[in-house]
């Protein structure tokens, strides 16, 4: 599969994970890591979502557990660039920093650290003024990020640009802005990855899966080739394989068929 799957389940903002963190339930975390890796994750996202004073310590606990059970690289997920910079030293193999943006000095902390490594990095198209409302403004942020990347010799293929997916229910133009930004970014830098947190799209709507799934298909058509989601969700994984086949990225549908045979989606045997 071309799509890069960043597996989202080890996140302290999910109540069951918060509980596991609080109770130091190591097996719970190990199992989540193993299951997501087995389901085809390219990166295991690790987000502590705890108070700042214990965040690095918690990240270390989580990262160590994940690395005990899988070789799938880790996506270090923290709102704090300093925590990310600390946590990436704990990883046995290069992963992904999730994330930088033009907010504060985030990018200036992270880019030097990953400059001469194989680490990849997610970059959100927002700055100190917030999330730009127009695609033009988001593309301006993008260009500034690319200048920085060039400065630190970070190849576009190591970047996952997140145009920031906001809830559909308050948007007046659906996903027009996102589609526009994704398509332009891909056209300008074909090797760059375009990513997003798919489930953000459906906040505050009922039957969210429908919206998430429709979004993934349309975003893939616009160039999204990296996504943060739950790979244990068989419906969405099947949909991604199907969409790649429809987009002509899966000759003879062989990957689709193989994934079906492996039980990634379809009727459980």
């Amino acid at each position: 599969m071309e799509m890069i799957i960043i597996a989202e389940k080890i996140n302290g903002s999910i109540p069951s994970v918060a509980k596991a963190i609080a109770q130091k339930d190591a097996d719970f975390i190990r199992n989540l890591a193993k299951a997501q890796s087995g389901a085809g994750a390219d990166f295991i996202d690790v987000c502590a979502s705890v108070d700042t004073d214990m965040e690095v310590e918690t990240m270390k606990w989580l990262i160590d557990l994940v690395q005990e059970v899988t070789e799938t690289p880790i996506a270090i997920d923290s709102p704090s660039a300093d925590v990310c910079a600390e946590a990436l030293k704990l990883c046995k193999r290069p992963g992904l920093v999730n994330s930088v943006s033009l907010e504060g000095d985030k990018i200036d902390i992270i880019f030097p650290v990953i400059a001469d490594t194989k680490w990849e990095c997610a970059a959100l198209l927002c700055d100190d003024t917030g999330i730009p409302k127009s695609s033009k403004k988001r593309l301006e942020v993008f260009l500034t990020i690319m200048e920085k990347a060039k400065e630190y010799n970070i190849d576009p293929s190591r970047l996952h640009i997140d145009p920031i997916i906001e809830m559909l229910c308050t948007s007046e133009t659906g996903i027009k802005i996102i589609v526009d930004v994704m398509a332009r970014i891909k056209a300008q830098y074909p090797a760059i990855h375009v990513t997003g947190a798919a489930s953000n799209i459906s906040y505050n709507l009922p039957a969210r899966q429908r919206i998430n799934q429709a979004f993934v298909v349309l975003a893939m058509n616009a160039g999204m080739d990296s996504v943060i989601l739950d790979p244990l969700n068989r419906n969405i994984m099947g949909l991604i394989y199907a969409t790649e086949a429809l987009l002509g990225k899966d000759e003879y549908c062989i990957e689709y068929i193989n994934a079906y045979r492996e039980g990634v989606f379809g009727t459980k045997k």
Binding site: Y252, I254, I257
Partner: protein
């Protein structure tokens, strides 16, 4: 696993990129070209059977045939002329009035993989074109008529009848396609019926062996 078994299993798995290299290695090891060819034909029989049984999907059969083709390309210079199509020539086409070719193409691929030289007349083929092809080609052992529409079943009947009554001999007629049943095939005078591409290849081999 011997090299020759490896060739067979890679053909079955449709490893198009590996098969030509493996065939070359099998030749270098001193295996006879005919044995290598036979192992690929055997591999395709497994593929055809699995397809008939509903265990694999059309694309898997397609890439297996493609993998075999890659192997045959390497083998061809080492084989006696025509050895890769030693079972004879098979004329195939979709009958007049019917433009469907996907099923016919699959059947052609599988019968070809079984060791026939295929002459594909395409779609919407009138009976006269079948005769001409039977007359113009050497060693015709099989004529395969495909039809997907109930409305072209009469054309199938006319075609088979015309071929059978043409005075031309030395070949068998096999028919197939969604609306065709074994009963209908025998009623219109065809020698055989096959429900799918895998079965068609098997029937084809049986008929020329008989």
């Amino acid at each position: 696993m011997s090299k020759i078994e490896e060739v067979k299993s890679r053909v079955e798995a449709g490893k198009t990129k590996l098969v030509s290299g493996l065939v070359q290695e099998a030749l270098d090891e001193g295996n006879s070209p005919n044995d290598i060819l036979q192992c690929m034909i055997d591999g395709m029989k497994v593929v055809g059977d699995r397809f008939s049984a509903g265990e694999i999907f059309v694309p898997e059969m397609l890439i297996a045939a493609k993998a075999m083709k890659k192997g045959v390309e390497v083998l061809e210079p080492h084989l006696a002329d025509g050895a890769s199509t030693s079972l004879g020539t098979c004329i195939i086409g979709t009958v007049e009035g019917d433009l469907h070719d996907i099923g016919k193409n699959l059947v052609s691929l599988m019968i070809g993989s079984a060791g026939f030289h295929m002459v594909d007349l395409g779609v919407d083929v009138p009976a006269a074109k079948f005769f001409d092809a039977i007359k113009q080609n050497k060693n015709v052992k099989l004529v395969a008529c495909s039809g997907l529409l109930t409305t072209t079943m009469p054309a199938m009947k006319e075609t088979v009848k015309a071929i059978k009554n043409s005075g031309l001999t030395g070949f068998k007629v096999i028919v197939g396609g969604a609306p065709i049943t074994p009963e209908y095939a025998s009623e219109i005078g065809a020698d055989a019926y096959a429900p799918d591409a895998g079965a068609a290849a098997e029937k084809a081999k049986e008929m020329v062996a008989a």
